[in-house]
């Protein structure tokens, strides 16, 4: 269609080139409205995601809040902020607190939704399963502030647990001032909030299992429990490995939001995490922003490395990977 009925060979190819270019231009013109639709999203991501990435430069500076990042007076200090952090007496406690909170949370929080999804899926009464799922999902919508507030309601000095304990002649004490109670409270409440929500994705995958597979297993004399192990579990393995990669990528990525709410002078020895320390050094008291940014960068680099390791391991041992 493009070259029409042209007889000259050379002329044809030149014409084709030209026409192709025109077509491309027309194509661009036709599709340019899509670019317009993307503009707001591109701008928002640029402002709130990419501009901060540029701001990481202050991790390599002796930065005074209010200064511009690149100017003649900028004091470049190389990796000084990082070596300061490695020599900070807080370094090992922070690493330990962050790692332990994440790894224990992961060991409990990763399998729990899978188990619940498998159990819900093998309930005989469909309707009961639906109702239970509604109940299990509800706590996900409780805000962090209310969640931690609820913890004080139950585990505070004058909370329900203590009220019952004193009725039986026990002594009152606030679980919030006990450092040994921080991790259990943090992890259990997180699981209480989110196990039902996290289970949805597995339940969705389980509903796609071919019923014929179950029938065939039934004929072979498999018990319901065996069918979970040999039919249901393999069916959700792909989604399990994707979720696994994602969680490993977040293993050192616990945020400050909930920990900050739960921190008291009494539990600071275990509740101070890398992320909460970044917040305190960078935004409160006498801010040391270059230092705080360096710590934050150190943490995100660990996360990216973990993600890459998890992804390539998954690629090697199974066919599932994020990229």
């Amino acid at each position: 269609m493009i070259n029409g009925k042209s007889t000259n060979h050379v002329q044809t190819s030149a014409k084709t080139e030209k026409n192709r270019f025109i077509l491309k231009l027309r194509d661009l013109k036709d599709n340019s409205p899509y670019l317009v639709m993307l503009i707001p999203a591109v701008v928002v991501v640029f402002l709130f995601n990419y501009m901060p990435i540029y701001g990481i430069l202050i991790a390599f500076q002796d930065f005074v809040p209010g200064d511009s990042i690149l100017s003649e007076t900028t004091q470049w200090v190389g990796f000084d902020n990082f070596s300061r952090f490695f020599n900070d007496p807080q370094f090992w406690p922070l690493m330990r607190n962050t790692f332990l909170l994440c790894i224990i949370g992961f060991v409990i929080g990763f399998p729990l939704p899978i188990i619940v999804a498998l159990m819900l899926n093998s309930l005989r009464k469909k309707k009961a399963g639906k109702i239970l799922q509604t109940v299990f999902t509800a706590p996900h919508f409780i805000s962090l502030v209310v969640m931690v507030g609820m913890l004080t309601i139950f585990f505070g000095r004058y909370g329900l647990i203590n009220n019952i304990v004193t009725e039986f002649g026990g002594e009152r004490f606030s679980y919030f001032l006990e450092s040994s109670a921080f991790r259990p409270l943090y992890i259990l409440s997180s699981n209480w909030q989110d196990f039902g929500w996290s289970a949805i994705i597995y339940i969705a995958a389980l509903s796609n299992v071919d019923p014929q597979q179950h029938e065939a297993a039934n004929l072979d004399g498999a018990s319901r429990f065996q069918r979970i192990i040999y039919v249901d579990l393999p069916a959700i393995m792909p989604i399990v490995s994707v979720m696994l990669i994602m969680s490993i990528g977040g293993l050192m990525g616990v945020g400050y939001e909930k920990a900050l709410l739960m921190q008291t002078d009494g539990n600071l020895a275990v509740s101070e995490l890398i992320s909460t320390y970044v917040y305190k050094r960078g935004l409160t008291g006498l801010p040391d922003q270059g230092y705080a940014t360096a710590i934050g960068l150190f943490n995100s680099v660990i996360n990216v490395v973990l993600l890459i390791i998890a992804n390539s391991a998954s690629k090697k041992f199974s066919e599932n990977s994020l990229w």
Partner: protein, 304 residues
């Protein structure tokens, strides 16, 4: 949720082997216990909010309300900070939802088109922030540069686009808007915008609802940005006011025995009531929007 064929069930329980019957019972009992663990804390807060504070404090109101009183609710009606926070949160949430839909839905549509010029580059542009960010301090400095400190826009603008939501929208469009339809509209001479507004949007109520809900719940429940960016208490959202009521009292213990006890008695009652009042909109909405939330997760799971 059992995948058993119906005919099997009709033949009665006798067909189910003993081992399986034991399994079903244990399974049901275990899930029942789990349900109690989820429901009881919520139930306790409701009964505690309408019980006599002394009965709660002495551990008497555990299963049923004791000495029913609504004094807690009366007290919270007098707290103007709570109501200012409430109003602020409603305003922030409403604006966030409207702006985020304007930003997310068209962008999701554009990203889902194969003909989008430079599609690969845009995808990379949006994927990078999912795994790497500047962190808290550079983010704070950008907000200061933009002059957003102590402004309500500091709460709204950073929340108007979540890259996760953007990709969820994109996947929805890819999987549920038939290409033939768009092709047909193009042949009929409809431009990109006309196609989007007249054909795509009416077919996308599900994803619009899911996104509106995700953004709304996210904004309703957030406190941290407000805590670091707002100084003016009249701008505080509800969660920040709640933080004072619910959490501050636990770490600041002072005074003599009797007054502490009295303070706790009143503070706790206020806690129960404020948990209920603040969560009420979400609780009331939850049964209606539940299926949409699930739909959202399903859309997301198509990725896997």
């Amino acid at each position: 949720m059992s995948n058993k064929p119906a005919k099997n069930r009709k033949r009665g329980a006798a067909m189910v082997p003993l081992g399986d019957r034991v399994f079903y019972v244990i399974n049901a009992v275990f899930l029942g216990i789990l349900a109690v663990i989820v429901i009881y804390p919520l139930y306790f807060i409701i009964i505690a909010s309408i019980s006599d504070p002394d009965a709660v404090l002495t551990g008497k109101a555990v299963f049923f309300p004791v000495g029913i009183t609504f004094s807690g609710f009366k007290k919270i009606m007098e707290r103007t900070d709570v109501w200012i926070g409430y109003l602020n949160t409603i305003i922030y949430t409403a604006i966030t939802v409207v702006v985020s839909l304007i930003v997310t839905i068209p962008a999701g549509w554009a990203l889902s088109r194969k003909t989008l010029p430079g599609k690969k580059l845009f995808m990379i542009y949006f994927i990078i922030p999912m795994f790497f960010g500047g962190g808290l301090i550079p983010f704070y400095n950008v907000m200061r540069k933009l002059g957003l400190i102590n402004s309500m826009w500091a709460i709204i603008l950073p929340s108007v686009l979540s890259v996760w939501n953007l990709f969820m929208t994109k996947i929805f469009f890819e999987s549920s808007i038939p290409d033939d339809l768009i092709e047909a509209a193009k042949i009929d001479g409809a431009g990109v915008f006309r196609t989007f507004f007249c054909i795509v949007l009416p077919l996308s109520k599900a994803v619009i609802a899911v996104m509106a809900l995700y953004y709304a719940v996210g904004q309703w429940n957030s406190y941290f940005n407000a805590m670091i960016f707002l100084q003016d208490e009249n701008l505080y959202p509800l969660q920040l006011v709640l933080k004072e009521i619910l959490i501050a009292s636990e770490s600041t213990v002072g005074g003599s025995g009797e007054t502490i006890l009295e303070q706790y008695r009143l503070a706790n009652q206020l806690k129960y009531v404020s948990v209920i009042v603040s969560s009420l909109p979400v609780i009331l909405l939850y049964p209606f929007v539940q299926k949409h939330f699930k739909q959202g997760v399903m859309i997301g799971s198509l990725r896997g």
